[in-house]
Symmetry: C2
Subunit: 207 residues, 2 copies
DNA sequence: GCGTCCCCTAAGCGCTTGCTCAGGTTCGCG
DNA sequence: CGCGAACCTGAGCAAGCGCTTAGGGGACGC
């Protein structure tokens, strides 16, 4: 099930989750939520994967939903950082758009376990938590729109419907989390490159 | 919550579900599964929406999973029909690809309630049922690939990676079910037209 | 009128769920 | 050695789950 260095979430991420036991629980929850979905995952399953009793979970998290929120929050922060870094970097609009798509797609493929939870379990969040997350997603949308708008302004891009195309670009990248399979034939890098090319075609006249 | 003629599943579909009570239950299940997800939906909720007692469900369906399977099967049949009709129609490859995308996207937007269940609840199916559904999805992929391959053959399209682009096109369309909102500003028709244009840009040099 | 069939419900069974709580173990520190 | 803090467990509670069962009630043929 593991190709030496992956599985997701091992090499650095989740380093912000500080008591080590809390991190083990969170990583276990990511795996379980990604495999079966939030509602089909039991607290006993999460605790078991982390090698603890069910009660241990409630020392570090108030509820099962808080676990999901922590995962979702960290994942959205990471995704937003990727997009804003690309949007506010330098280079032409085309270069920045390609960079944003490549980074965003690569993240969704490499960390597809995490990304699946982040992108497809929003409705399991409480009202307040969901509102907080939706705000982060609005910012992600704004970052991509910023690049596309500027490309249109400078004449690099030919995009009749900027909000619609922004939505489509993000949607295309996000859906990678759904279909990407680590056992499949494509590496995250290959998918990122393919998608960057496809998106550039979507926004512009032949370069 | 309803804009006169929509909600989804009222004007004709589900006509193949024959005892009228069974159809009412199935429509209720589609709504509930789409709102909360399969695992978060209770049989009591489904029966309640259909105006029946929980026990009534088991007269028409053996299990809750059978309900999901019936929904998934009918939805996949419909989606496959749309794609194959477009793929095997006449016209240039570009015309057929645009037609396929427009029809497929429009279905995902108009019937986004159904489509959400069809596209995002696969892993809740039993092993055998999932295998049956996966086969239908393979055929959908083949239909789109057929159009793109032919466009490449005739020189209409410039596509370096046919399987990858096929995957991206389908992925883009499918994800409409996730974000489309009937209260939003775009009609299913507008999204279909926008997406058909974007996909044509993805596959080729300006026509 | 009577029996048969179909469709449905009230009640509830056995089990699992999210979560709690009293208590035990391990540790650093005086 | 004693003491408190940090962390974890075994046992279990109340609630809700999917599903079953016994039986009611209306429509129909005879």
């Amino acid at each position: 099930m593991s190709t030496a260095e992956e599985t997701d979430g091992e090499n650095t991420p989740w380093s912000e989750v500080t008591p080590e036991a809390a991190r083990r629980l969170l990583v276990a929850a990511v795996e379980a939520f990604a495999e079966r979905g939030y509602h089909a995952t039991t607290t006993r399953d999460i605790a078991g994967r982390a090698g603890m009793s069910p009660a241990a979970l409630y020392i570090h998290y108030k509820t099962k939903e808080e676990l999901l929120h922590r995962i979702s929050r960290i994942g959205h922060d990471r995704a937003l950082l990727l997009l804003e870094t690309a949007a506010d970097g330098d280079g032409t609009a085309a270069e920045r758009l390609a960079g944003a798509v490549r980074a965003f797609v690569r993240w969704h493929a490499e960390r597809h376990t995490t990304a699946r939870v982040v992108q497809y379990e929003l409705e399991a969040l409480s009202e307040e938590h969901r509102a907080e997350i939706v705000e982060l997603r609005r910012k992600s949308d704004a970052a991509v729109r910023r690049i596309i708008s500027e490309g249109v302004r400078t004449g690099e891009f030919d995009v009749p419907d900027v909000p619609g195309t922004t939505l489509a670009v993000l949607s295309l990248c996000i859906d990678v989390a759904r279909w990407f399979n680590a056992q499949g034939s494509r590496t995250p890098d290959e998918v990122g490159t393919l998608y960057a090319d496809l998106v550039l075609r979507m926004v512009g006249p032949r370069k």
